[in-house]
């Protein structure tokens, strides 16, 4: 068994890398059972191993000595495995040291540890709570991959699952009086679907809004800014509009009051419905504000309807092989108007929505007219072809009969 284990260690993939040829840590720990071998196997693909670091780079000790006491002795600087409370500082030995990081990845920031201690996780750890997330909770201990690597636990598509390890644990979250449905809600949200179903890695994920190393829940005062990182115009319209002060006074979350937070759905004009839209949460039916919401909804409905109708007409024409480039250009400009109209809703002024939507409605009308005319002309082409074809056929037949007549005369 020992011989087999030594052979196993000798043929581990990381033996091929640039690490010291004789690493006594590997040779000995490969003989210590499955859990040790699993660590060695995991570490063979770890980014630290790939850049030439070995066990002793983090855990200290003398990796050249085959004497366990000497190799893992205090004199050799052996520190062993850190506790959870020790982990941030343990990793920070290098990750908070610019000169150490320059050797391996100069572009990587060195503020993770500092940020971590500003996070809820870090603060609780400092307060003596060892259940909170530390570096290894998200990055793993020995299978660490760069965030851009799809196999990494912190790759954008894997983040909901990584955060969900704790935040979907109802028992653990219950002890902090926190809900455990965020990941489930996110998965069904417009952002979650974009990331997890369509594979759009530009879609926001947990750390986009909460930060990663400095993870905190965005407060009332800055949630708008968090959403505004991507939805800048919406934030701008909202803050310049009549609602901002009222929202501030009532301590409303500026985006999530209407759109929720983890389960944000694709917004439809129905949100503005004067009967059961989100505005009715505060405004009475028949009030001026409710009517304004209805007017904005009507305008967004109008541009959406004309946009879809124009697309249908263009597709019908394109299916017939007709060139619809100009109509497509108009349709594209209407698409921009549609986005702008939906964004202008956040100004809560119907005239702003109309100002954005009207050019698009005009463009879609032109595009639709152009496509419908082309389809009509296509129909006329067939009629024209039928007439021309009949004429040519009759002419050919006449000529043929003339030849027959001529040849019968010639005998």
């Amino acid at each position: 068994m020992t011989i087999l284990s030594v052979l196993f260690a000798a043929f581990l993939p990381f033996q091929c890398h640039a690490a010291p040829v004789k690493d006594q840590c590997v040779i000995c720990h490969a003989t210590l059972g499955d859990s040790h071998q699993a660590i060695l196997k995991s570490f063979s693909r770890d980014i630290h191993r790939e850049v030439g670091l070995s066990c002793s780079s983090c855990h200290g000790g003398d990796s050249s000595s085959d004497d366990a006491g000497q190799a893992m002795g205090a004199e050799a600087g052996f520190v062993g495995a850190p506790t959870r409370a020790e982990t941030p500082k343990f990793c920070g030995k290098c990750h908070s040291d610019p000169s150490a990081m320059k050797k391996y990845n100069p572009s990587l920031s060195v503020d993770q540890e500092v940020k971590y201690f500003t996070s809820v996780h870090g603060k609780k750890l400092q307060a003596g709570d060892s259940k909170v997330a530390v570096c290894t909770s998200c990055h793993t201990s020995h299978s660490i991959r760069p965030a851009k690597d799809p196999s990494s636990t912190v790759y954008s598509k894997n983040i909901p699952q990584t955060c969900g390890k704790c935040h979907s644990d109802a028992k653990l979250m219950g002890s902090y009086k926190l809900p455990a449905d965020q990941v489930a809600k996110y998965t069904g949200s417009v952002h979650g679907k974009a990331l997890l179903e369509r594979g759009d890695t530009a879609a926001p994920v947990c750390n986009t809004c909460h930060g990663n190393h400095g993870a905190v829940p965005p407060g009332v005062e800055n949630i708008g800014h968090v959403c505004g990182m991507c939805h800048a115009h919406n934030e701008e319209f909202f803050k310049a509009g009549p609602m901002a002060k009222a929202w501030e006074k009532r301590k409303f979350h500026i985006c999530s009051t209407c759109h929720n937070h983890h389960d944000i759905q694709h917004p439809t004009p129905a949100l503005l419905s004067s009967d059961n839209g989100v505005c009715r949460k505060c405004h009475l039916a028949g009030s001026a504000q409710s009517k304004a919401a209805g007017a904005m909804k009507a305008k967004v409905d109008e541009i959406e309807g004309s946009y879809k109708a124009a697309e249908k007409s263009i597709l019908t024409a394109e299916e017939k092989g007709l060139d619809m480039a100009e109509a497509r250009d108009l349709w594209d400009s209407a698409r921009m108007s549609l986005f702008q109209a939906k964004t202008a809703v956040h100004a809560f002024r119907p005239e702003k929505v109309a100002e954005a939507a009207d050019p698009g409605i005009e463009a879609t009308a032109k595009a639709r007219k152009s496509a419908d005319e082309a389809v009509h002309e296509f129909g006329q082409r067939r009629v024209g072809l039928g007439i021309a074809s009949l004429f040519l056929t009759l002419l050919a037949l006449g000529l043929y009969l003339k030849v027959r007549d001529l040849e019968s005369g010639q005998g």
């Binding site: 092989g321 007709l322 060139d323 480039a325 100009e326 082309a374 082409r381 067939r382 024209g384 072809l385 021309a388 074809s389 040519l392 056929t393 002419l395 050919a396 000529l399 043929y400 003339k402 030849v403 001529l406 040849e407 010639q410």
Partner: protein, 352 residues
């Protein structure tokens, strides 16, 4: 009506001796047999050439050559100009049908052994006409400056670059530089609307002149003949009308697509292929191994294709030198074998 026709003819005859020309044409005879249909193929080519000149001149009124204007002007022709879509589609479809009829005409002449003495030069001018028509097709294909045309021209001109010794020089000459650019477009335009029409018109004149001087082959040994004028001419006209009808139907039901504008920085669309009449040669070059006897496979391919072309051009001479007993068999083998080979490679290229 007849009196008016006779008066008109008399008026022309007094000035141009038209009756003499009609008299001369009516003495020319065309053999009548099972394969007589193929005699009409040459006339169809001539008719389509006329159609191409007509539609080409109409397109020229709106087409503006240039990397920034070619695509836009063709789009304008297709979508804005009255009947522009029809003229463009007819021009594109007719070009393809013209090449098809040239192949039919050429192989029927070969298999009917109409290339034999004294018609060697008629055959050779006919081969020249095929070459010029294919050059017409190749140069015209680039003019809309769309994505497919751009990459097809890039691949096609890359092959020219493989010619030993002068390949690179030829490539630069054809492209007007190292790459396919607006300079290539200008060259192809000049070739398509000035140089090739002049050459093709002249060579058609010579080809027809030879046909008139020598008359039709096998007239003397045919069991039956018909006068060229008016019988054959009228039958020719019937076929022209039918071909025009087919082109019109294709143009209306399958309008020639324009696609995306050429973009040198974009990656080539998947499965890009040349026009069908270059597909056999393209497929042949594609399937050759990278190297044969240390020489690039493509170079071997070019040598083989050019060798076959030269043999085809000089068929009347090497065939005449064959023993009498072998002549018919060799013509049948080469003709049908060549046709089957071209068809098989084209089909392979189309399906792969």
């Amino acid at each position: 009506m007849k009196a008016l026709y006779d008066a008109g003819l008399d008026w022309l005859d007094e000035r141009l001796q038209v009756r003499k020309a009609i008299e001369w044409a009516s003495h020319k005879h065309v053999p009548v047999h099972q394969g007589s249909f193929f005699y009409y193929a040459g006339g169809v080519c001539l008719f389509i050439f006329g159609l191409q000149v007509f539609t080409g001149i109409l397109l020229l009124m709106y087409y503006r050559v240039g990397a920034d204007s070619s695509y836009e002007s063709v789009r304008y022709i297709s979508s804005k100009v009255s009947y522009g879509w029809l003229i463009r589609s007819v021009h594109s479809w007719a070009a393809n049908i013209m090449v098809l009829f040239i192949f039919i005409h050429m192989f029927s002449v070969f298999l009917m052994k109409a290339f034999r003495k004294p018609r060697e030069l008629t055959w050779m001018t006919g081969c020249g006409l095929l070459g010029l028509t294919m050059a017409f097709g190749f140069s015209g294909y680039l003019l809309p400056w769309n994505e497919l045309a751009y990459f097809a021209t890039k691949v096609g001109t890359d092959i020219i670059g493989q010619v030993p010794l002068v390949g690179h020089w030829l490539l630069r000459l054809v492209r007007g530089g190292e790459e396919v650019t607006g300079a290539t477009l200008s060259r192809f335009f000049g070739l398509h609307v000035a140089i090739l029409p002049a050459l093709l018109s002249g060579l058609i004149g010579i080809h027809l002149g030879f046909v008139q001087i020598q008359g039709m082959a096998h007239v003397d040994d045919a069991p039956k003949t018909m006068p060229f004028f008016p019988n054959f001419m009228l039958r020719d006209a019937v076929l022209w009308l039918l071909v025009l009808n087919v082109i019109a139907i294709l143009a209306v039901f399958f309008p020639w697509e324009l696609g995306k504008k050429a973009d040198a920085l974009a990656s080539a669309p998947a499965g890009i292929k040349p026009e069908w009449y270059f597909l056999a040669q393209y497929q042949f070059l594609k399937v050759l191994p990278a190297r044969i006897l240390l020489i690039p496979g493509e170079l071997w391919g070019i040598i083989v294709l050019n060798g076959a072309g030269v043999l085809w051009l000089f068929a009347p001479f090497w065939e005449a030198a064959l023993p009498e007993s072998m002549k018919d068999t060799v013509v049948k083998l080469v003709g049908w074998g060549g046709l089957a080979g071209l068809a098989a490679m084209t089909l392979w290229g189309h399906l792969s």
